[in-house]
Symmetry: C2
Subunit: 212 residues, 2 copies
Amino acid sequence: MDRKKGILIIVSGFSGSGKGTIMKRLLEEHQEEYALSISATTRAPRPGEVHGREYFFQTEEEFKAMIADQALLEYAQYVGNYYGTPKGYVQEQLSSGRDVILEIEIQGAWKVKEQCPDALLLFVTPPSAEELKKRLIGRGSEEEAVIASRLGRAWQEAQGVEGYDYLVINDDLEECVQNVHSIIQNEHARVSRNLEQIQAIQAGLRCFVKGE
Amino acid sequence: MDRKKGILIIVSGFSGSGKGTIMKRLLEEHQEEYALSISATTRAPRPGEVHGREYFFQTEEEFKAMIADQALLEYAQYVGNYYGTPKGYVQEQLSSGRDVILEIEIQGAWKVKEQCPDALLLFVTPPSAEELKKRLIGRGSEEEAVIASRLGRAWQEAQGVEGYDYLVINDDLEECVQNVHSIIQNEHARVSRNLEQIQAIQAGLRCFVKGE
């Protein structure tokens, strides 16, 4: 398979779908193949957080300059702080041949897809609504109102699933990590991602035919 | 993964690409999951050929009735005989949950895709034009004119590759069989092939939200 250029992979999913755990496992098991996109933020670093690892920490002025320079794939404001996806880091990783994973919610996913039509969109879900509710309750620490609010949000998010490329059902974690890896690997064999090689074969055959 | 309904897989590729061997291996290794589409033909059975195994052998009258009844996904005439793909057998296998493999050339592939927009199109090729030529020559038994004619045909066929979904590069046979299997398995996770399950999750979430 052709590994010249990486694929930008957008991963979304319900809160409680286990998407964070899946991504963590994927990156642990295939360090050389994947990179996780690092967000920029104007919020202050928490103890232990490292610039360029958890986040790129920036002043509001710096962040606004990135917006003005169109240096962000998407951004949003949340509780008074900016969060966004720097284009440069993503492109650098893609050029090095790594597939870049961007864990992001639906609204951001559409914005990124607009700028990167080649992005691959995965949506992670438990096998059923019942199972999602069970997992949210199962966390134990949440109040009923919090669970209700999460289910309400899940319902809203569920309206956008049809716009994704793949439905990733997280039933068994190991199997799910394996499936996600396999989906991404196979995506490299898409005709639309191999046009250069196809054109090379066409040109080669043309040479033989014209030469004879 | 959802295995309720099978996928129709169209496999094309250059003469000398090894697509026949790949399909044979795939069917041997995963008997329960795949079925090979069986063509109908008006040519006489050869010794050892069995009706319903190699071909459905038919009279010209029967064949023309199938054309009139739109009971064929595609058909063509070749050296005075008809060859075609009966819809019924394919649909039966798909309904039973098997993925059906249809080894067919580009012209037929477009006809089938028109009737079955959900069909998955794979194109098998050696890694390069040079390698294709080498393999055609390597067969040894062919005259130069035959090789030239095959390369000419390959050049023509190569013009249609962009219309396929996946480029399957046959470099190492084992790896290639594994890749094809993996591509097909993952295709079952496409959002467009899981709309029922998505709608069930949406409906379930809606219930929770409305109930609370």
